[in-house]
């Protein structure tokens, strides 16, 4: 702007043109910042949020994939080696399942289970599937999972589901 003031010979139209362009760039940046903020808030709100189960092929054979299900409910966590959010999620779920009877936590590496990852529609790490004793997915979470979110997911499992649990 100081250039405009110093150069008195600049015509009004040219000055307006420069100011107009600068204004356009300021507006572009403001829109960019607001868009980024909205994206970030949306992304943060999704982290660990308990979602309905995805339609997955029935009869996933967890045992043959090396995933032994617990009696009542199992958190099946898909992780990657380098993923920091996977480690904190693993700590949260490990702490939660340590004291609860019939509740298990199994963590697998996506690299070892790409077929399972594809058939279950897992897109990112960590993704946690909440699986009942009968092998059915009852909820899923992706992104870093907090303790309260994990408890919320547990509450989605009817109290008496097991291999032969009663229907709701």
């Amino acid at each position: 702007m100081s250039v405009l003031i110093a150069d008195g010979g600049l015509s009004g139209a040219a000055a307006q043109g420069i100011v107009g362009r600068m204004l356009g760039q300021v507006i572009a940046l403001v829109v960019l910042v607001l868009g980024t903020a909205a994206l970030g808030v949306w992304w943060s709100a999704r982290q660990g949020a308990v979602r309905a189960p995805r339609e997955t092929p029935a009869g996933i054979d967890w045992a043959s994939a090396g995933i032994a299900l617990a009696e009542r409910v199992t958190f099946v966590q898909f992780s990657a080696e380098v993923c920091a959010a996977c480690r904190s999620t693993s700590r949260v779920l490990g702490g939660l399942t340590g004291g609860a009877a019939g509740v298990g936590h199994r963590e697998v590496l996506v690299d070892d289970h790409l077929d399972l990852v594809r058939s279950l529609g897992v897109l990112r790490t960590p993704t946690v599937l909440v699986v009942d004793g009968g092998g059915r997915e009852v909820a899923r979470m992706s992104g870093v999972v907090s303790d309260s979110q994990a408890r919320q997911a547990l509450n989605r499992v009817p109290a008496a589901t097991g291999a032969e649990g009663e229907q709701r």
Partner: protein, 145 residues
Amino acid sequence: MSTGMIDPRGPRVGASITSVLLAVVVLLGQSTAGLLLLTFMMLSFLLGTLRGAEGTWQGWVFKTFVRPRLDPPAEMEDRRPPRFAQGIGLLVTAVGVVLGAFGMLSAVPIAAGVAFVAAALNAVFNLCLGCELYLLLRRSGLVRA
């Protein structure tokens, strides 16, 4: 050099500095000054791609001025995801620089804007682009374990 753990706050501080500079490129618009600053950012990303985020000048700023004032980190982070993010930044800014150098100056603020989104999300929300994309790349077979 390929494995190792780093302070996770380093890449985030670096991403903050990077996003401010990329915002300046957007403000400079379709100009030679914008192209020059974007070229500088591209070279910074090149450094980060070759040496990891901790090997950039932003990493040096963190190590020299910020880290001495902080407590030790609660947890360390694998250095590979931040390095991958540097590679994404290199790709995006290089497109802007090449197109800009061939006279398509409008590509300069656009490329800076795209890189700004990724850097700012990393800095403010701790979104790790490499972590988000890793499984998708693995599933598509573009990346091997």
